[in-house]
Symmetry: D2
């Protein structure tokens, strides 16, 4: 169980079978950094082109196609004092007739007070004044190399993860991914100090992050979509990435029905009845080509 | 401010310009009952055909087309000891390839302990055993007469409300509807003792309810979609009913952007920035021809 | 077999259980007129409010719930020399980012030369000049009273027909509708002298029509969605009305699979193989709350 | 203007920045072959794994990012006597409630008579008997390397083309693609002897092809989605690939509005009016993660 410190020097805008930057063992921990969605680092320097540039990939020894990778987000926190958001809801999130009434899409600037745990709107001047929001740091875009040696843009998402922008991807959460490439190949970036559901303006409060994560390989465990365990919020979840949202719900619900029967000792009827009365859904990204819906079950209804 | 007690003798399976069962004044309160989605009342007698039969319509004096009706749900509670759910997630909520793996759709029975505030699964026998869930009573289907003298089935929903199955429609919530028909014409039914997001098995725990509500007319206030104020949970919300979910989100988000600018003193840029980082979405019905998405803003971010 | 001449004096903007204007027998023919979508008649007088006002309803003796109504469109032709269209593609038919680039939605005027069979663009002045298009008269909105005594706006469509805007609804076509109301209750209006697929500007060349149709009742024949027989174009078709288009395709395809097995002597595997290699789809309305897709099979592949 | 003969020895199941198999000049012609979707060649030997394996990529000298590639399909024809289809409509193309009624998905075998130009159903035995269909050879999956050095599976489609399964991709058609990678990098495969709209059983009549194509580079011409010119059928078209179909229509319609204004001398109002009354849509693939819709304008309404 080694803890690695990794200082990235280059970044990727696709998740794919790229040359690993570090090889780690099953059970190891990595402490590293991510740059913001626009390519700017902790020092305010643009070190990569925009587009959710990713740190990695990290190669996990012993992770092979057909396995499942458990990626625990141990710590996520902004590592600088500034962030930015967009000023306009995306045209695809409002009625088509309303698009012309949306304000121009420019950048709003936020001051991040890491000690106080608050982000404060610095500009533009609006009736919001200096709106101050509690930090809720989350990773917008991360995942593993996709199936079939595909390389898929960080502008979208799929069974491999990617740009899911789910505000539930916070410290303390373990995310499970299917492994398709030898070493799984972990990528991460696009940290948000704060974000509303859906990332409907196309950004959270975009900033650079310090990140710590720990990996574990589950041999021979095949899954279809990302799964997760939110320790602190006490629920398990599955993630569907697709358009329209209806299909994202279908992916996530199907994956949850499978999980409940595989690992939580439920028969089909029991899993169906339970979901019917206890399921919750969260909206992840609704800005990208693929949208994200999350299917949750509170752990108190489960016997593991 | 009169309090009326109304005992229904017949029910409707469309929301439309039907003969009022009671005329009430602006500010009045009504205490009445609803029967379950299958037409069964507090005594276990089937008194109407199935299909979310509605109590009402109640005619509100002074409510005219172009006004807004505020409908406060004062009290909602089961009035009998039994409820039922379906045993299978609806085919439209899972991957098409998975439909064949769903269990047969039959009825599960629940015992409702009103004193203890719990619903307990009575049958079928599954690995869930006698799963016990805390009651969270909500109205599945309610609303007003639609535009253009339409009469629309309680199997679906629209700008007039209808079968929205949102678990946030609980006691203490005020719902605002557009008024299209003289008197607004309020309908309600389809009480659920408990329900998961999406009503994905096509039912909550279906049962009959005692209901108390209070009305208020806001003259000359035009709105496009149902709006709401969740006093106890401390958020405001808007409701979009459409398919796919993407369009329901568009309706609800557009209505919220309008509301924030009309009544909460925000400029367009401020409303857009606020939603971007603070909005939350809930999934209502995902079973009917029209699906439901709810757009929420916590009140702590608003100055009224 | 009587031929009735009916001169409408009032119109409906919902399809519902309205008072019949004429009672006709199984096998009868009706010669009547429709006014344009804006409510203007053959003389250029606005005789009804806008919104696809409908002639009818016509009550067909012997048509009862559970039957099928065959409605043959014998003749459809403009009965005046003018028509109008919109000048802008609807915002829901282009990329959300492109909405701001659409031109303003105003009215274009067309001259209809009924003798020559041509419609010519009269204004505005554009680089199209006086574009001349051959007349292809079709009914935009027609159908029967919906299930459950609903009254549904002519702005949308459903299993009962309504505003389907399919350019295949031309003279010589027989359309089959489910019967839910006693007498079926036939409505029709919204004639288009010409129309592109999808009615993507929200109008065809809107004008008033002379219409002749003939009815036939098929007792005890239950269908789920409109079906049709295009004599002159030599195909049969089914119609799905829903959103998104994906669901409209699902409705139409399912109805066709059923039809092929019920009435064309095919087993399930045969029907599936045939559709796979021979099916064609047309796009009807893509402007309304419900969109329309048509599933076609050329008759040459069928043995009746 | 050289004509190359190329004999493929390996195949790709992603379109991406792979090593070119041949370098050709602007204006050159290539005569080559494709194997069927399952990886089987003209001799009935499986030479690659299934999944629409692609011949190529062909590197076009002088094609650079920001250019447009014109790919003319000169000749497409089966090069063996057998083909296969699936026997069941895909679950996503029928109503979710109908999925259980679909037949099992197995393979049907077809005899291809290249001299007679007919494909005949050989098995299974169904009420179709030996259904014989005229050959209408088309390419199911082809395109160029995507943006951002992505490598995208042949199971789906995008702005770069891919698995579009449009029955209009026949000999005589020129398809225009955006160029993102140096040399454009042309891929092709998945020939269908016959196919219904939508490829709704997930296959056309899958077989191996002889193919001849000719390339031309248009420098500095930026387009957003594939465009095409159907010489023989006398229309131009644009292609949108996305889900739901609604979004595919949006992409294709937007691209057509741009094209009409860029290259056909129309102002915005003219282009909008023309599409409104003259546009036609075809359904391409409705089986893959991304669906395909084609927007067509008959050339007789255009002055080039």
């Amino acid at each position: 169980m080694t803890t690695h410190r990794f200082y990235p020097t280059h970044y990727h805008i696709t998740l794919g079978p790229h040359e690993p930057v570090l090889r780690i063992a099953d059970g190891d921990t990595v402490i590293t950094t991510t740059i913001d969605a626009g390519g700017t680092d902790a020092h305010g320097e643009q070190v990569a082109p925009e587009g959710n540039p990713q740190t990695g990939p990290f190669y996990v020894e012993n992770a092979e196609p057909g396995d499942m990778l458990a990626l625990r987000l141990d710590r996520l926190y902004p590592n600088r004092d500034t962030g930015y958001t967009s000023t306009a809801v995306a045209p695809n999130v409002v009625d088509p007739q309303y698009v012309r009434e949306l304000p121009e899409r420019t950048l709003a600037e936020w001051h991040i007070d890491r000690a106080a745990g608050m982000a404060t709107l610095a500009k533009p001047v609006t009736r919001l004044g200096n709106l101050a929001l509690p930090l809720a740091p989350m990773l917008g875009c991360f995942g593993v190399a996709p199936a079939d040696r595909q390389a898929i843009s960080t502008a979208t998402s799929g069974p491999h993860g990617g740009n899911m922008d789910y505000r539930g991807f916070v410290a303390g959460v373990t995310v499970y991914f299917p492994v398709w490439a030898p070493g799984a190949l972990i990528f991460m970036g696009d940290g948000h100090a704060v974000q509303g559901d859906g990332e409907i303006v196309g950004t959270g409060i975009e900033t650079s992050f310090d990140v710590q994560f720990t990996v574990r390989v589950v041999k021979g465990k095949r899954i279809g979509w990302p799964r997760g365990d939110a320790e602190r919020a006490d629920y398990i979840f599955t993630v569907g990435n697709a358009r329209p949202l209806d299909q994202a719900v279908q992916h996530a619900t199907t994956e949850m029905l499978r999980w409940l029967q595989e690992d939580y000792g439920l028969d089909a009827v029991g899993a169906n009845i339970l979901l019917g009365q206890c399921v919750e859904y969260d909206l992840g990204n609704m800005f990208d080509p693929a949208y994200t819906m999350v299917c949750k079950v509170p752990k108190r209804w489960l016997k593991s």
